[in-house]
Subunit: 147 residues, 2 copies
DNA sequence: TATTGTTATACTCTATAACTATA
DNA sequence: TATAGTTATAGAGTATAACAATA
């Protein structure tokens, strides 16, 4: 198979795998009362290093307006708090609550339960990590994230 | 990093890469008058081997009802034709038209333009293909696709 | 003027359930 | 009864544009 064929194959299979993972994890998140996107947002929020909504949008690779909706849900569920930044009153800092920490730990647990990757040896997994990292990092960085 | 950490990392990065690809290819598909899902459906239809809608749903890993909508669009655009199977009048065979072949070739071209993978050598790409294939194939096959 | 967050809106994707026509 | 395709509907994700408050 030529290089183009390989590339197409890789892309299609990766999409397949991520779709399958999303599907499986979606059920687990639902049991936590979270949508997949909300769970991902909670995962990105480091309890020890609160950050403004703008940065979360950057980390999630989506628009700020979406973050507003996601944080609405997380705040309603009592998992996150909005605090106006005293140094720049335009910004709102996102703080993970005590209960938020608990749920976030469970979210990470679900994300770690990657039975889909159980067919790989430690060495293969490590190699895969390096390659995927190289792709997502060096390939075409300017294209990662929204316009 | 431990095995769990590696797995989480792999999953997140893969999702990142596929999201970036989807984003970029989405623009190209829009210029062809296709949504990403419609483009993927057209890609799956082999012009030389027409198949029933049910099988397309299987290949796309989605529900039959979605195929109806996607084929509606493709048919309206004159790229695909529905033909009732004479041997089983419940089935409708999906046939790619002459224009459909042209657009499909362009779709494949777009999917092949994987600049995101340009950072990898031929050998790395080949290794990545094998690993991703192994994951999507052997890991947990029963979970690939819809319920 | 530029930026943060918000709101309103719209489009895409996808699943479920009920329907039909065939088998 | 069971299956193929359709229709209607709903939920989730995400982008755009306009807006208020703040810088």
């Amino acid at each position: 198979m030529d290089r183009v064929g390989l590339a197409v194959d890789v892309v299609r299979r990766m999409a397949h795998v991520t779709a399958a993972l999303r599907h499986r994890q979606g059920s687990a998140f639902a049991e936590l009362g979270l949508t997949p996107a909300a769970a991902r947002a909670l995962r990105e929020l480091d309890p020890d290093h609160p950050l403004p909504a703008r940065d979360l949008a950057g980390q999630l690779g989506c628009d700020r307006s979406n973050v507003t909706v996601l944080v609405d849900k997380l705040e309603q569920a009592g998992l996150v708090e909005r605090r106006t930044d005293p140094t720049d009153r335009r910004q709102k800092t996102l703080v993970v609550t005590g209960e938020g920490r608990v749920v976030r730990a469970r979210v990470i647990e679900v994300m770690s339960d990657s039975r889909l990757l159980s067919g790989l040896s430690d060495e293969e997994l490590s190699t895969l990590r390096d390659l995927v990292w190289k792709v997502s990092d060096g390939g075409c960085p300017e294209s990662l994230g929204p316009e």
